[in-house]
């Protein structure tokens, strides 16, 4: 039975995350049959309008992982400068260094095979706390975040309630 180095490494990451989980983050493959599709839950960071929320996301890993990064997509409504309206997350660690759509990104922040799923999830968590509005995925959210912070926070809080089924 063929086992790629990619799925071996993903399994290791899963073990590591389970043995030593970072606070506020849960992640693992959706089923045992497929190491390349993960689900993750990220807690909203305290002291932010996301506080109290638990946000499910999906990670899809390429067959040549970790040479190339996974893609990540939130499965609940997110109002955030760095999240596309369809949930896709756009942060530098998810961008391979070769492909540089945003000139402002430091190569050191971008994906490299020594990065990990845990680092992605931690980066996303801190992205929730501190949006990067230089090259936003959601222009409207970015503008609102800059110009009408309280409106922004109100939408976020509504989404938190929605994500909890309230």
């Amino acid at each position: 039975m063929a086992t790629s180095s990619a799925s071996k490494r993903l399994f290791k990451e899963y073990r590591g995350l389970s043995n030593d989980p970072p606070e506020g983050i849960t992640a693992g493959p959706v089923t045992e049959d497929d190491m390349f599709l993960w689900e993750a839950l990220i807690q909203g960071p305290e002291g932010t309008p996301f506080e109290g929320g638990v946000f499910p996301a999906e990670l899809k890993f390429p067959k040549d992982y970790p040479l190339a990064p996974p893609t990540m997509k939130f499965l609940t409504e997110m109002w955030h400068p760095n999240v596309y309206p369809d949930g896709r997350v756009c942060i530098s660690i998810l961008h391979p260094p070769g492909d540089d759509p945003h000139q402002y990104e430091q190569a050191s922040e971008r994906w490299s095979p020594i990065q990990s799923t845990e680092k992605i999830l931690i980066s996303v968590m801190s992205m929730l706390a501190e949006p990067n509005d230089e090259s936003p995925a959601n222009v409207d959210a970015a503008r609102m975040w800059r110009e009408r912070r309280s409106d922004y926070e109100q939408i976020v809080r509504q989404n938190v309630r929605k994500s909890l089924g309230l």
Partner: protein, 462 residues
């Protein structure tokens, strides 16, 4: 933990009496594959990776994954000392971990309470006791895996019988006969090892260590295989490539793109094997098997599922039996609590409670207690992830079972969030409905039957 589990991890040490071994072991692992270094090589920027890992990285973008310095595959140099350390650590690991898991001092005196000292931090710093630990390792059931290095070493329980070996003298690693160091190699050519009656020798670990030093050159008599050069693919047509492949003895089917991919991987496998120590070097047949694995996972047969491996290892990882009841409780508990938010939905009160609970209980939600469905079961809020991995596995198994009859006929449907058409491709099938409501969707525990998005090489659209 199942000791036969094949994918050990540095985090295995965290909850033992030797947590300091976690960073130690992490340092002996490649940052790319997270495995113990296999045939480690040093880059021109002084970073170390498995030969195969860095070769793949260099093919991918020509850079060191750690510092981004430009690197060339033909500048990689084997790191022999590290290779040795990693091998020794791996040999010592199972027993060390076993001991480290025995937490209490009273239960640490395992085999022979009269004689053996318990393994604790002090022991680690004390050479004498480290050696004792190794001796136990040497007598453990683990089978020799390669070469002389792992030849069974008989160690008497008594620590006082240290045999004096004069300077310049060593003992044959096979038969144990003392001799001048310079003579060992020629002796080894003829040594049958038959002189050694099991248990009669008192070869000590320290002596054994000395032999590692002297036997290495002896184990290296045959010339290392030659590294293969790259091909100028642009200058070659399919026919030329296939002819070349025949010479190399690798499969010749497929179009030019696939042939190039295959040849590139063959270079990775072949050339990294050239960085292996003599006693670990793989045969061409083994390499062809690895190429076949690549073919099935990333090459021309990449559609083949990898499920068997994962099932096996999840079982090894898992807790199938020991923790099963615990998980079942967890799931049951979560299900019960998951019904609360329905009331909250309808009555529009108690939301404060639900929210608080959700904050303090970020456990992996069972399928019917996903965040969108409200509160989750409560576990110790200080250790919210306790048994997390197991819970997930168990939950998934349940969901899988529950879904099997339905998923064939259910079409993909839109989730209740987002609602864009693009999301229809997601695995948002209403697999099981804890509340009897037909609109409930479970977005996270269903896998598409076949990949809906080609992620062969990930493309980032942002």
């Amino acid at each position: 933990m199942d000791p036969s589990f094949t994918l050990p991890d540095s985090t295995d040490w965290i909850s033992t009496s030797l947590p300091a071994f976690e960073p130690l072991e992490a340092a002996l692992r490649c940052e790319v594959c997270k495995e113990f270094y296999e045939n480690p090589v040093i880059t021109s920027c002084s970073h170390t990776f498995c030969s195969l890992c860095i070769r793949r990285c260099i093919t991918s973008d020509g850079k060191c994954p750690t510092c981004r310095a430009a690197n060339q595959a033909d500048k990689l140099v084997p790191n022999n000392a590290l290779r040795e350390v990693v091998q020794r650590f791996q040999d010592a690991r199972p027993k060390a971990l076993e001991l480290a898991r025995i937490d209490t001092p009273s239960s640490t005196a395992v085999n022979d309470p009269g004689k053996k000292r318990k393994l604790d931090d002090t022991d680690i710093e004390e050479p004498e006791n480290v050696r004792q630990t190794r001796s136990r390792q040497a007598r453990s059931k683990t089978k020799p895996q390669y070469g002389f290095a792992d030849a069974p070493i008989e160690v008497p329980d008594s620590e006082d019988e240290e045999e004096y070996i004069p300077d310049g003298m060593v003992k044959c690693p096979v038969c144990g006969k003392p001799m001048k160091e310079a003579l060992v190699f020629s002796h080894l050519d003829t040594c049958t090892g038959s002189e050694e009656p099991a248990g009669a020798r008192s070869t000590r670990s320290r002596n054994n260590t000395a032999f590692h030093k002297v036997q290495r050159p002896q184990r290296d008599p045959s010339p290392a295989p030659t590294r293969l050069p790259g091909l100028n693919y642009a200058m070659m047509n399919e026919k030329n490539l296939k002819k070349k492949f025949q010479e190399l003895g690798i499969p010749t089917w497929g179009n030019k793109t696939l042939l190039i991919k295959r040849h590139t991987e063959w270079l990775h496998l072949w050339n990294s094997n050239c960085d292996a120590s003599e006693n670990r070097r793989k045969s061409k047949r083994d390499l062809l098997k690895e190429l076949d694995t690549w073919e099935r996972t990333q090459g021309g047969h990449a559609h083949v599922k990898e499920s068997e491996f994962m099932k096996k290892d999840f079982d090894g990882f898992g807790h199938a039996n020991t923790h099963k009841n615990q998980f079942d409780d967890l799931i049951r508990n979560a299900r019960r609590k998951a019904k609360a938010p329905k009331a909250a939905d309808e009555q529009n009160d108690a939301e404060g409670d639900s929210t608080t609970q959700a904050i303090s209980s970020p456990i992996p939600p069972p399928p019917d207690a996903l965040p969108s469905h409200g509160t989750q079961s409560s576990v110790d809020p200080l250790r919210p992830y306790e048994d997390n991995e197991a819970a997930l596995a168990s939950i998934r198994a349940e969901v899988e079972t529950a879904n099997r009859p339905q998923e064939q006929q259910l079409p993909y449907v839109n989730g209740e969030h987002g609602g864009t058409s693009e999301q229809a491709h997601l695995s948002e099938v209403g697999i099981r409905n804890p509340f009897g409501s037909p609109t409930r969707k479970l977005p996270m525990f269903e896998v598409p039957k076949s990949p809906v998005v080609d992620v062969e090489h990930s493309t980032n659209s942002c």
